[in-house]
């Protein structure tokens, strides 16, 4: 690493590892409940497990994005973060808000709005926390003489993410209006500004790992994030088909959400092309696997599987079924989890000075978690299609249809065990790296040793 303040990133990444492990535990609780093994119902009913599972994902991904920013911004701006002390305060307050919210869910303290269950009082603390984070990042960039496109796109993503949190805090008497604006937060985050963050991290990693000229990579970064917003903003309409608003969304949402896979396709082609164009001599093979893997899996998970049920004619039957859960799992895994794991894999050797970046454990972690997740998604997909057919076509009762799909959750749990093993190995590697050291400041990053630059 080049800058002392980049060490902050390590602690955000450590928080990610902790919360990710907990998220998997709650995922298992939900999986077992679905096959009738709900012995924890009195303490952790399904709605608690679900809220914890999804909110932990959001909190640890945000922690990952923030950690990525604390690692990337000093290198891009070529200066230290303006205040390390405030960055640690921000980290601790993020962890405290996250833990308080999740503890509250076990005592029926929540808002009960899908993905935005955090109680209103804690929402204000989230806003303060994010403002502090943005203040530190923007002040660092403002004081720097060097402003790069990669840093700008990453920061724009983080600023828009903060702004879009606000519509979700307004109370509406109508469930329809409430849902309408809830999607301003959820959809415009995951299918809009988070893609900007992903694009920024991806561009940084490709510049470092492939050695391709920054100007080439950043030019295509603009095209990709342009395609993201062009399709994603009006693509919000696919959440409005059947929630009680005007039919115009059937047309607008149908057309623009059908275009959404284009941004992910562009991202996959971009990463693979840059990898092939580069010199391919970077020794951090594990970071390269996660980086290129993220771009390909996000195209399949977010792009193709999203397209599979986004047209209004199909969505009429799949809306509110396990088909959505299938798409959700692979989309989040490919687009956001893998990119956070990629930046952690890239940063760890540089933060600690230890070169554990091409070992068997790391490769096994990649393949086990990816194959496990693919199996989980396939099981959920089969369960979803069977549910649609039995319930929506044959008119079978919800619980009778659920009995029929139980077996697919047994398969899902087996695949989830493989997935969890892979993630366990990733976390083991993270721990084995140890903490960041000042000695690492004296070790140049590998790409600087190689001096690769390809035009």
């Amino acid at each position: 690493m080049k800058y002392q303040s980049q060490k902050i990133a390590y602690w955000f990444f450590a928080l990610c590892m902790l919360l990710f492990s907990l998220q998997i535990v709650y995922g298992f609780i939900m999986g077992f409940a679905r096959i009738g093994m709900d012995g924890l119902h009195d303490f952790i009913p399904f709605n608690t497990a679900r809220a914890v599972h999804t909110n932990l994902l959001v909190v640890w991904l945000l922690a990952g994005f923030m950690g990525a920013a604390y690692y990337i911004i000093p290198e891009e701006a070529q200066r230290e973060i303006v205040s390390v002390k405030w960055a640690y305060i921000q980290l601790i307050s993020l962890a405290v808000v996250g833990v308080a919210a999740i503890t509250g869910y076990h005592f029926n303290i929540w808002e009960g709005r899908k993905f935005l269950e955090i109680p209103r009082e804690l929402d204000y603390l989230v806003v303060v926390n994010v403002l502090l984070f943005l203040g530190l990042i923007l002040a660092t960039l403002f004081k720097s003489k060097r402003q790069t496109t990669t840093a700008m796109v990453l920061t724009m993503g983080l600023v828009f993410a903060a702004l879009l949190y606000l519509p979700g805090m307004i109370w509406f008497d109508s469930q329809v209006t409430d849902s309408f604006f809830r999607w301003w937060v959820v959809h415009l985050w995951v299918e809009g500004v988070w893609e900007l963050i992903m694009g920024g991290i991806l561009a940084f990693l490709l510049i470092k790992l492939t050695g391709v000229d920054r100007e080439v990579i950043e030019k295509w970064l603009y095209v990709i994030v342009g395609l993201t917003f062009l399709s994603g903003i009006l693509g919000t309409g696919h959440h409005y088909y059947y929630i009680g608003v005007n039919k115009i969304w059937l047309v607008v949402g149908g057309i623009f959400s059908a275009l959404e896979p284009l941004a992910f396709l562009a991202m996959a082609l971009f990463a693979v092309y840059m990898y092939r164009k580069g010199e391919r001599n970077h020794p951090n093979k594990i970071a390269l696997f996660w980086t290129v893997g993220a771009s390909i899996v996000s195209f399949i998970g977010a792009g193709l599987l999203g397209f599979a049920h986004t047209l209004p004619q199909t969505n009429l039957y799949t809306h509110g079924t396990l088909v959505t859960a299938m798409h959700g799992h692979y989309a989040f895994w490919g687009a956001y989890v893998m990119i956070v794991l990629a930046i952690i894999s890239y940063a760890m050797p540089n933060l600690t000075g230890r070169k554990r970046h091409d070992n068997t454990n790391g490769h096994l972690a990649f393949w086990l978690s990816n194959i496990g997740m693919l199996g989980m998604v396939t099981a959920l997909g089969v369960a979803g299609v069977v549910q649609v057919y039995l319930e929506r076509r044959l008119g079978m009762d919800f619980m009778v249809a659920q009995e029929e799909v139980k077996i697919h959750f047994v398969v899902m749990l087996l695949c989830a065990t493989m997935f969890a093993t892979g993630i366990g190995m990733y976390i083991y590697e993270f721990i084995k790296y140890g903490r960041p050291t000042d000695e690492a400041l004296k070790v140049p990053a590998v790409e600087e040793d190689n001096k690769v630059l390809v035009h």
Partner: protein, 146 residues
Amino acid sequence: MLSKSQARAFFLGGTVVTFLIFIGLTIYSLAPSNDQTNHENITEQVVKGKHIWETNNCMGCHSIMGEGGYYAPELTKVIDRRGEPLIKAILQSPVPWAPNGRKMVAYEMSDEDAEAMIEYLKWIGEIDLNGFDRIVSPLARERMKD
């Protein structure tokens, strides 16, 4: 070949134009003349029902208008399908309601709260969902055939 400044113009221009269209469509679809929700029927009881719905995170298991946890039944038009007395009994049950072994939390609601929930579910049942109501409710589908 595309230059970096052209790529930037595509990004910024595309974002501004689509966001403005999105705002325009939001205003259009939430205008009172395009209301499909019978907004005037949102009584104090309906609002109270929504509050109970949210503070107990019912959406964490059930779904409504297709949104929720997919673990327990869709509740759009549930009053039509099951009738008020059964829904009230489930909401007030002192033991977990467990059809086919899948347990619901025993909420033991008061008369007042259970009635507010029923009013809320009734209001939801009257919303024009662009055809989805006929898919999730066999009863509504039968009625359409008649």
